[in-house]
Amino acid sequence: MATGPELKIDIAEKRFPGAPDALFAGLRLDIAPSSVVALVGPSGIGKSTLLRMIAGIDTDFSGSVEIGGQAARAAPTPGFVFQDPRLLPWLTAIDNIRAADPDCTHEQAMEVLGRVGLAGAGALYPYQLSGGMQRRVALARALVVNARLLLLDEPFVSLDRTLVGEIHALFARLVAESRPTVVFVSHLTEDAAALADRAVLLGHRPACIVADMSLPIAGAERDQATLERYRAMLDGALESDGD
């Protein structure tokens, strides 16, 4: 069975120009092939920045990011979800999805759009979509790449409860079927409890890993009790970091 790439992240220093202190200094994080890692931490800690460095969007730092043994920019196209939907306003939902991958056909894009519950919205322009719908188009765009590596920044926000359930299920199925490596940012411990097999909590400044927890029971086999136990564990870790 195909696997996702291994990630070796070693950020010696990341500092934004003009910022008084470094955002990261000496952060190391190795991620095993095909694992699903939730990146959790307070607002402003650097979760998005870290994800952008992994994706090769932000290369202005010292240190290295290796994806399956390659430099971030040289690695194959990841499936990426920005924290904002970031759709191209001049393209319809379908064409936005197809923009991510030149080989994606209309039918494939329609199919992915259906999977995020937007089968009827293909011909609409972004301004005609609600915020949550735009986010789902962005998620579909990341999925259509069929990437071995998924990097998702808050992919499940502004969705209602039923929709979160459906998207979680879709996501779990995708992970079980094609086993990509996934790093997703979430401020909701329930997302992490439901989907991740490892949760990395960031804290302090410069940011470091304050807790690194493994959630060993496979996502599909988690019953309600397990979910709640995981969630309590994550919430506990978050709170103890707050002190």
Partner: protein, 241 residues
């Protein structure tokens, strides 16, 4: 529609002020018809439109290319933004006179003068457009590893288009006006040339007939081509009322 209202007011006024120098719209329409069927109206109109079209196309192409360079390349902007300012503020008539003196009273100097008047405007508009381009969308191109061609087609051109359209719109109204002025100044035909001759005879109905014909063409172009085109190209924008 406001145009019929304008015509009605004109007709009523001409019936109150009965004067040779204030013809009614019906008289003007009569003169226009005669000039079109027997006179030189169509030939003159064609000449003027040809000049306008030539200068428009060349100025848009040139201005867009230079505007992109201004917006993208720092040293171009630093070196030449002074020139641009001069270009934007040179009186149109001066450019025309100087070119007529240097190159002679011919077609080339006329078209060149129109182009030189319009280009700075296009450059300035396109430059502002390019400067406003979003880094966020560039990142999208980066993360999805888009080829240069796809970036151009999906990200660059769509961002540029509204500004090019805006430049086309303002540029067009400028061109309509200055082409006529330059034709008065020196040319061998065209609407402006004919109007200047009729001016010498105080032929006000002729002048109004020619002007009306010209305005009709401009309106047809605006409503028949420009607006539908803009609506189609910018249909991804929220409709504002």
């Amino acid at each position: 529609m406001s145009l019929p209202l304008l015509l009605t007011i004109w007709q009523v006024l001409s019936m109150i002020i009965v004067n040779r120098l204030f013809p009614s719209p019906i008289m003007v329409a009569q003169v226009m018809w005669d000039a079109a069927t027997e006179g030189r109206l169509l030939g003159d109109l064609g000449k003027t439109l040809w000049r306008a079209a030539m200068s428009f196309v060349i100025a848009m192409a040139l201005g867009t290319a230079i505007g992109i360079a201004f917006g993208r390349v720092r040293w171009v902007d630093r070196l030449f933004s002074g020139w641009l300012l001069v270009g934007l503020n040179l009186p149109a008539i001066v450019i025309a006179i100087v070119l007529y003196i240097w190159l002679g009273l011919n077609e080339l100097s006329l078209i060149l003068a129109v182009i030189l008047n319009k280009v700075p405007l296009v450059i300035a508009t396109v430059r502002e457009g390019v400067r406003s381009f979003s880094d966020d969308l560039d990142e999208l191109g980066t993360v999805f590893r888009m080829s240069a061609l796809r970036r151009l087609r999906l990200i660059f051109i769509p961002q540029l288009t509204p500004f090019v359209l805006a430049a086309a719109r303002t540029g067009l109204s400028l061109i309509w006006k200055i082409v006529l002025v330059f034709e008065v100044l020196g040319s061998d035909g065209g609407i402006g040339y004919r109007i200047s001759i009729m001016f010498q005879f105080f032929n006000i109905s002729g002048i109004l007939a020619y002007t009306t014909a010209f305005i009709l063409v401009v309106l047809a172009f605006e409503y028949g081509i420009m607006r539908p085109l803009e609506r189609r190209i910018l249909r991804w924008r929220p409709v504002r009322n």
